[in-house]
Symmetry: C2
Subunit: 567 residues, 2 copies
């Protein structure tokens, strides 16, 4: 028996219509680049507009793109920072039935061209600060028919097909009747970071975009409402800025965009001046903010951030020490969230469960995990034979995920081995090793490929890294496997100390020893000036492994005894 | 171009699995009937259980029902009050692929039998307090194969097919693998109150149930999270208790059920003792609560309700005076919400928009409207020719609604004239007359059939009623049309004064005159002891109109002059 509810499709135009009809007066604030100072650093200019104007321009953009002859499903790429113009593309492109393809601006130009060609983008929206790349991109991507430049340029770019975005929008007719859309039509796409092999395209649907916004908005997730002011530091070129531009628009929250200004001082100032209530970014951003807040407090001029309710942290794990530092030194609450490009991204959030005292050690331990699923997301653990493992908080297994905003394949059918059936249901293999506990808390132990297999047992590099990074002299740490004749692999800590500080292997080991079985402890520590970071801010462990695979504990700073497996 | 997201269906079992795997320790509290006192009044007994136990029993109920031979789409009726057992049915019945059919216990037994027969229910879950009805129901509904009695009875009921629900659940095998469900399969059904013609069945889908929960949970809607304790006074037999049992389960909020104890004192005590944060009910309930809170405060023993963040009011319009009374006398915030059986029910909620001072008159005026749509719901206004009307806050029109949890038809295809196409999209005609303003605030003026048409212009009976009910001597008021030889219809106020108080027509008219055009003011007032109320708590205006249609202002308490249309 079928029900008799309307078959109304879940589509992005419904979000666009909400800001137009209910939240037209709510603000969108963007830090744009006004010019350069004498050192060549960008100088900010604060731009203010409203949802009403954004909606009008988004509908003009939609109308203009269709006027160029684009048809349903055509891809429109962006190479852009966070700003109101990017938001217009977020809303306008899918509302025209086209596909918003956000490209990571931190990639190498050759990778950018590869991705633009692979996605077969017909239009590119490019930020004025990257305008110098246009000739090279045009040369490498002959199928790109139109390039719209976001923001003013010192002089016009005299190349065919290149025009000013603002002029294009102003001169276009607004689309007032949206095309018929099926909720399973493509709305947006984003490529994975591709630390192994070529990047792969994930194609989000209108349905997944709307459901992700609905499910992530409530209290125990992002907690977004009309009275909020949200600063997504997480870039809009990466997994839809965790869906925040859509979620905020759906619920009428004011949005603030930092553009290229993501340093601690710029972020702290913006949080204070715009009375931000919710912000979101990767741990690196919060490290910078923490340093700035500490500095200002020590200088007796602390920032006033009384209304800041929630700093959402994701992209990689936030160490417990960082969560504690924000809470105890500044009264600010970090909420850890977890997801992937393939999961839109929100999979879990790690609030304190009912019944646990928020100031207890247990609360901080839980908050340093990846957390519990948002509604409609399922997680499970598999062993190497594909059997389900217990959710006991201890057993490590391969983390698999399913849900209505989880990818079922990559663009053009690539990477099929990541998708599989289990008991008649489709799942995605995250490539992570994790535990799940009785309350549903998920804790990532490692990327499967980064896990250290020592004497047939698994050692989590992530746990060791978090523990080592809590040491006051440590800036950054990566724990990787080095080859070992007896145990196959043994952990090696690669550490960058804080400026002007030093630390020894023995000091680090005694610092972390109380928290681990003896055989987990790294056999050696390498001190280095720099650890390689990829385009999405993650440590490139592959490079470190190539460099240190044959490192032996005998050549380290110290030569500890063979690992004791008695515990 | 289609996206490549998983085709995971939105179904009720995902809600059941959440309380089982993430919120198993969260409580469900129910006031049950322990017996009767000397006056025959029910004596409460407080029952406590957990989501873990509810989930286990819901899965046993599901397994047991399938064991009786029921198959997908079969209807399981409930005649039950709010309690954990009803919650088990909410979760267990749809998870078995069956359809939960909640029946209004306040209907006349003949209407109940008519509805059970119309829905072709195969199983009935009936509360022990209604057990006396079982023989009559069995006689009237020969197709009812099984009756499960919720809660203990003084002695077993020796009728074939009748058994104890708790025993049935205990003895059944839990369903651990849910049937394959399409999200458009029926999950639940509820009949309209049928103030005109026979009741009509609205069949909710799994999809509409899940979407309704997702969209209603955020901040500006119900604002439900794991830390909340929610008391739905609104009955579970009526439009799924506004979806709260599902929404609370999805987000892990503790639930409190008042059973048959909905009087002001019981409610106030329960709010205080269980530290309720969110509660929901019709205006009548809050009138009773307000009186009790006033009494206790005057007696110097006020209730302690510090954690009570939100009283949601719906079902019929809450007068501004009531919203102000709660806010100013008790610091409690009423949130008006609007919906219908056909809309699952949540369509709008009326919070204070960003930028309006919460203590201003404008804020209270807005809060007394029905409010703005929740995501995915669209509203519009039509004139008598089916043309769209402006959203200017003044123009009254027929309110139409569409969205993924709005009915597209009634069960068995009845009442088709309420559903129609406009510009290729399906809409439902609410039968209400409303205004919509530039910010999206909807304000119901009247039921179309209750609207007073005077000299070709419309007069809103609801506006007049709300204004009159703000008078301190008035308990209840209905404004209806009386026939008028010159103007076709003129408004008549039917008023019940508060106990021991009286009021004259002139007093009422001078009290409300500043707020209305002169020709809107009622020509006469009838004072009466009682105003007829229907099974869902709404005034039966049809009965009043039958009684007073030919009433003439000349026979009233006063005889005012003919209406002055100069304004």
């Amino acid at each position: 028996m079928q029900g008799n509810m309307m078959d109304v499709q879940l589509t992005v135009p419904t979000i666009l219509e909400r800001i137009r009809t209910q939240y037209a007066g709510r603000e969108v604030v963007s830090l744009l680049v006004a010019g350069r100072d004498e050192q060549g650093n960008p100088v900010p200019h604060k731009h203010r507009t409203t949802y009403g104007q954004v909606a009008d321009r988004a509908r003009r953009l939609a109308g203009g793109l269709l006027g160029l002859g684009l048809t349903k499903g055509d891809r429109v790429a962006t190479l852009a920072v966070n700003s109101f113009r990017h938001l217009e593309a977020y809303l306008g492109v899918p509302s025209a039935g086209l596909v918003l393809h956000t490209v990571n601006i931190r990639l190498h130009p050759e990778q950018i061209a590869w991705i633009l060609n692979h996605a077969e983008d017909r239009v590119l929206l490019i930020e004025n600060v990257f305008a110098a790349m246009i000739p090279a991109i045009k040369a490498a991507c002959p199928h790109l028919e139109h390039i719209l430049v976001l923001g003013p340029t010192p002089q016009p770019i005299p190349l065919p097909g290149v025009r000013d975005y603002d002029t294009f929008v102003q001169e276009s007719e607004a689309l007032t009747r949206y095309p018929d859309l099926d909720e399973r039509d493509a709305a947006a796409m984003c490529y994975t970071s591709g630390t192994t092999g070529n990047p792969k395209g994930v194609v989000y649907t209108h349905r997944s975009t709307v459901l992700h916004s609905l499910a992530s908005a409530p209290k125990d997730g992002l907690n977004v409402g009309e009275a909020d002011t949200v600063l997504p530091i997480v870039p809009m070129f990466h997994v839809n800025a965790w869906g925040l531009p859509y979620t905020c628009a759906m619920y009428g929250a004011k949005q603030v965009y930092a553009g290229v200004f993501a340093d601690g001082r710029s972020v702290a100032t913006l949080l204070q001046d715009e009375a931000v209530t919710i912000t979101a970014g990767v741990p690196t951003i919060w490290m910078g903010l923490l340093a700035e807040l500490d500095r200002a407090a020590q200088a007796g001029q602390p920032y006033v951030l009384g209304g800041l309710e929630r700093l959402i942290v994701g992209g990689s794990a936030a160490p417990e020490a960082m969560i504690r530092a924000f809470q105890t030194r500044h009264g600010l609450s970090l909420l850890q969230a977890w997801g992937m490009t393939e999961t839109h991204p929100l999979g879990t959030a790690s609030g304190v469960p009912y019944g646990v005292d928020a100031s207890s050690d247990e609360a901080f331990t839980l908050r340093a995990k990846q957390g519990r699923t948002v509604p409609l997301i399922e997680l499970d653990l598999l062993d190497d034979q594909g059997q389900r493992l217990p959710h006991d908080g201890k057993t490590m297994g391969r983390l698999i995920i399913r849900g209505p905003w989880v990818a079922s394949s990559y663009f053009k059918g690539e990477g099929q081995s990541n998708f599989f059936d289990l008991d008649g249901q489709g799942w995605f293999d995250t490539g992570d090793i994790a535990t799940l506990d009785e309350r549903g808390y998920m804790h990532i132990q490692d990327r499967a490929k980064d896990l250290i297999k020592s004497g047939g047992e698994w050692i989590s590099s992530v746990d060791l890294e978090n523990a080592i990074m809590a040491h006051p002299a440590v800036n950054l740490c990566a724990v990787i496997a080095m080859d070992d004749p007896k145990w196959d692999e043994r952990p090696l800590a690669v550490v960058t100390p804080k400026p002007g500080q030093s630390v020894t292997h023995d000091e680090l080991i005694s610092f972390i020893a109380p928290r681990f079985a003896k055989w987990w402890l790294p056999d050696a520590t390498v001190l280095t000036d720099s650890i390689p970071i990829g385009a999405t801010g993650k440590i490139l462990k592959r490079e470190l492994r190539d460099q240190y695979r044959s490192y032996s504990s005998t050549q380290g700073l110290v030569t500890p005894a063979a690992p004791d497996r008695s515990e």
